[in-house]
């Protein structure tokens, strides 16, 4: 699992039906690389979250046929973005 910070919601009206009506969020890793994740729990902007990839992402999003490669599985109660590297400038 990886730690991400939620940047903002993503609206995509034209989408494949398999994605259903789940929320999609733009998340950013501490290093700066950005990704899009399925949000089955309801995160706010600025939340630090943990997300799973590979086949666990499908199950975490609801069922094994769900086409997700990154799904948020938890909101971290307390996380200081600077605490491990100390240099997010």
């Amino acid at each position: 699992m990886k730690i991400f910070q939620v940047e903002n919601r993503l609206v995509a009206t034209a989408r494949i039906t398999q994605l259903e009506n789940n929320r999609l969020l733009v998340v950013r890793e501490k290093g700066g690389s950005r990704a899009v994740a399925v949000d089955p729990i309801g995160c706010k902007e600025g939340d630090w979250v943990i997300a799973v990839g590979s086949s666990a992402a499908k199950d975490a999003a609801g069922h094994s046929k769900y086409p997700s490669d990154l799904t948020i599985v938890g909101i971290i109660d307390y996380w200081d973005g600077d605490e491990t590297t100390g240099a997010v400038t």
């Binding site: 494949i16 899009v36 769900y66 490669d69």
Partner: protein, 92 residues
Amino acid sequence: MNIMRVVRDLVTTHRVSGLGAKRLRVLEDAKGNIEVAVDAVGARAGDFVITIAYSSARIATGDPRITTDLTIGGIIDDWDETRWHGPARAET
């Protein structure tokens, strides 16, 4: 999943049967890297799209037998160049 932009259509008449008759698009990411994806929604050149990778890409096409590793899963309603590159873009 990632945010990418459609560059243009891609026509390959001669292809493996595993790709079926799926439409292909050339995409670029924020750094300018080029990728090819199966288009399951009907995106046009210039559209910002969400791409689904790995084995989920096969489910996203609607037929898990399709041999792809990248599929367009949706067209983003509201996205632009400045947000795409973000404040972290610091090329020298």
